[in-house]
């Protein structure tokens, strides 16, 4: 009996696979405008953010709500609404209207630098930010005031909290 023999499956050349993955990650990471975050701006943003975090954040059941207010974003340290975590604002020149254009990246930076930690509701006073901390899975939801709220959680977290996810541009 004769059959058509399909050649065995092969792996991509490692050099090609590595280079392609790197270029794709770069392509995805640089698509669209991004908030340029520096360690200095993190400290400035936190300083302002903690001052306003006490205002709390209200939630509402909404059919759909895009992020409309980019002046600030809230990085939650718990998968719950309230005053946990901190509000971040974009650092800019005095009187300017700098915007938080990528809330996910901004909040990831706070987790990576150890300012936020799973299960700890308040912001941690980090004396040295040379240690790189593990960033948990984060998800962006639209808060009732139109700002972005970044929670530790997955795709179900927003619905659990009664919030909607922004479409396509959760960084917004």
């Amino acid at each position: 009996m004769e059959t058509l023999n399909i050649p065995a499956a092969e792996d991509l050349r490692p050099t090609f696979a590595t280079a392609t993955r790197r270029e794709l990650e770069s392509l995805v990471g640089r698509s669209g405008p991004r908030f340029r975050w520096s360690r200095r701006s993190a400290v400035v943003g936190l300083g302002i953010g903690i001052a306003v975090a006490g205002g709390g954040v209200a939630a509402a059941h909404l059919a759909f709500q895009p992020i409309t207010d980019h002046a600030s974003a809230h990085c939650f340290s718990l998968d719950a609404l309230g005053t946990n975590g901190t509000t971040v604002v974009a650092a800019g020149a005095p009187g300017s209207h700098a915007l938080v254009t990528n809330a996910l990246a901004t909040c990831s930076m706070l987790w990576r630098d150890g300012f936020l930690e799973v299960g700890v509701p308040h912001v941690i006073n980090v004396s040295s930010n040379t240690t790189v901390h593990t960033v948990p899975l984060l998800v962006v939801c639209t808060l009732s005031d139109g700002t972005a709220g970044v929670f530790p959680g997955d795709s179900r977290t927003c619905a659990t909290l009664g919030l909607e996810r922004p479409e396509v541009t959760p960084g917004g």
Binding site: L4, P7, R13, E23, L24, R34, V168
Partner: protein, 199 residues
């Protein structure tokens, strides 16, 4: 530690849409081998398959705003993207030329090492298969490559091709019948078994 280990495809896709490059990199790590071998089996050239694989992921990213993933498994959709690129290969690759230029050149075909010899052998083998399969309509080739070679089930193939499951079944059945008839005519085989597909 791999933060994205065990995270389902649709979650990675959503994170990638939020400009998380590492999430998209994880999707590439997870599915590039399957895409690569699918492209090879459709084109018969490893070097073409390499370029196409990179282009498939670049194209997937380009299409992100138009794409809503309903399934946990992104692979069927990636293979569908591959099929669309293969249909018009030169134009598709030209669209991503700038991106492809940043990648390593195809493996040196003048290399006479064992690796190169093995790849040439498999290209000859695949050319033989494609010579027979090319007698089918493109739609039949696509369903055959997804179901028989990439081993998608009917539902996954239907999702990938955007056609009803019943159409996948009938198209596949017709394609296999044509091939058996063709093999018989060519005096190669009158047996039921069409393929031997190694893992």
């Amino acid at each position: 530690m791999d933060t994205y280990e065990g995270v389902p495809d649709h979650e990675l896709w959503h994170r990638a849409a939020g400009r998380d490059g590492a999430a998209f990199g994880k999707l590439f790590e997870r599915h590039s081998r399957a895409v690569y071998n699918h492209c090879f089996r459709r084109t018969g050239k490893w070097s073409d398959a390499e370029e196409l694989t990179a282009a498939v992921f670049a194209e997937a990213w380009r299409l992100r705003r138009r794409t809503k993933l309903d399934s946990d498994d992104i692979l069927p959709w990636l293979l569908a993207v591959a099929n669309n690129l293969i249909r018009n290969q030169s134009r598709s690759l030209a669209r991503h030329q700038k991106f492809l230029m940043k990648l390593p050149a195809p493996a040196d075909v003048a290399d006479f090492g064992d690796e190169a010899a093995r790849r040439l052998d498999s290209e000859r083998q695949m050319a033989e298969v494609l010579a027979v399969v090319s007698s089918l309509r493109v739609e039949e080739q696509e369903v055959l490559s997804l179901c028989d070679w990439a081993e998608l089930d009917y539902a996954q193939a239907a999702t990938a091709l955007g056609i009803p499951v019943g159409t996948v079944r009938s198209r596949l059945s017709r394609a296999r019948a044509h091939l058996r008839q063709r093999l018989t005519t060519d005096n190669r085989s009158s047996q039921v078994v069409l393929w031997r597909v190694p893992l």
